[in-house]
Subunit: 94 residues, 2 copies
Amino acid sequence: MIKVVSKGFFYEDKIEEALKLYEELVSKTQKEDGCISYNLFRDIDDKSVLTMIEEWESPEALEAHKQTEHFTRLVPMVGKFRKNSELNVYELVL
Amino acid sequence: MIKVVSKGFFYEDKIEEALKLYEELVSKTQKEDGCISYNLFRDIDDKSVLTMIEEWESPEALEAHKQTEHFTRLVPMVGKFRKNSELNVYELVL
């Protein structure tokens, strides 16, 4: 199992537009083979922080996700609304 | 539902000691009321990054967790093995 945490620091006036793109991205990604969970979260103290937390059955499933039409189209669009981002790919320890 | 991501950048020679403390912390926390999930992850590219990803039924359950004996004893001990840390508390958006 692979866990991904993709954290974005968004321009405040672009958050609504980003959320619209994320809506399509989440709905399509959740239907992919090998996707255990894929959800968007918002920091309760800093509303400009939006973070996708993902769980994939295998590295291959995550790789296939990155080749999908919705990923290659929507992720670069969302990227323009962010000041900064952090991506971590994790394996389970405990 | 409340999601917590607690990311730590550890001193490399202290990771084994930290993992021992985390073992007790994870096992005791998973038994708490209101804890949906509580797991430790390690970055696959940077082994010095250890991140707890937590899911709590309510803010009250998270608050009660912070008052437990194992939290108040073990978390400050783990803190000494980290160079740096980031904590985000999230609500679900999508």
